[in-house]
Symmetry: C2
Subunit: 153 residues, 2 copies
DNA sequence: ACAAGTATTGACAACGGTTGTCAGTAGCGT
DNA sequence: ACGCTACTGACAACCGTTGTCAATACTTGT
């Protein structure tokens, strides 16, 4: 109790469930992006078993609500991360990520100039309804964390 | 046609086949990105039947050789496009794309500033072995072309 | 506290894109 | 022409993700 439980879920008229809270917590505990399956594994190992389908459903909803950021990795798999301080209900500002290829650790980055550039380029070419994806990948060099991923183990 | 068949395939010690040439031509005729399946369909309709597996194989190889650019769409599907004038064997310079969401039409774009910015940001955060993805999507507003896609038909 | 109504759950099947398999085919050097 | 072997392609297997639907458990009204 204490600190109003399911604070992050209390967005509105949704029912708060054990599973939802567990997913929320796991997401909060993660310091970076996690795939649905990785999240499912973590929950499993923590004893908080949640169906894979349920994990996908929550992630999808959270993504729609703008509560989590989604990154599509080069191999086509999607990874999620809790978006900023959030819980305020107000979608975060547009931003991108610097993601560690190995452990998923990520940093939010903003580049107003880049945003402007992208729109200018698109407009110059006569494109409308413009959007863009921009993610920077690299090695953070300090992933000591026992990160369980889909990769190995 | 136009003499010197498989000009673009003549990279080295590879056998030139009817299928390979067909894929190459279709890729050359396309004015934008195509998914493997879309390409397969086009070839089929042109009477140049080629196995889907073969299309995937060629695309994969071409991508490895740097002969085609690959874009992973938000839904996780991959789309390919012949890379620049190419055929020289020398991989194109690093660049990105402005892609029409509807017809696949695309324009290559370069942004030295953005590249520099991306690397600077990553370096500042202590990341190494940096790479990035950047694609701009929009509506080109003039896709009159009878584009056959996986969507319909 | 209890009952009723309905969102949520989760095991399982289905789906769509992509890759592995492997016998048959066809370039290419000799 | 011959033989070697890369290439081909129908098909099955994979894998991430979504649909299905009966069972479950939040919530609200009483």
């Amino acid at each position: 109790m204490a600190t109003s439980p399911s604070a992050a879920l209390a967005a509105g008229r949704r029912r708060s469930t054990r599973q939802g809270a567990a997913i929320d917590e796991a997401l909060a505990a993660a310091d970076g992006f996690r795939t649905a399956q990785a999240l499912h594994d973590e929950l499993r190992h923590q004893g908080q078993a949640v169906g894979l389908t349920t994990v996908y459903r929550h992630l999808k909803r959270l993504a729609e609500d703008g509560a989590v950021d989604v990154v599509v990795r080069p191999d086509g798999e999607a990874a999620y991360r809790r978006c900023g301080p959030s819980s305020s209900g107000v979608p975060e500002e547009h931003h991108h990520h610097l993601v560690c290829r190995t452990c998923g650790y990520s940093v939010e980055i903003e580049g107003p100039e880049v945003e402007a550039w992208a729109h200018r380029v698109a407009a110059d070419a006569g494109f409308t309804d413009v959007s863009h994806t921009l993610e920077i990948f690299g090695e953070c060099g300090r992933h000591e964390r026992p990160y369980v991923d889909t990769v190995s183990q």
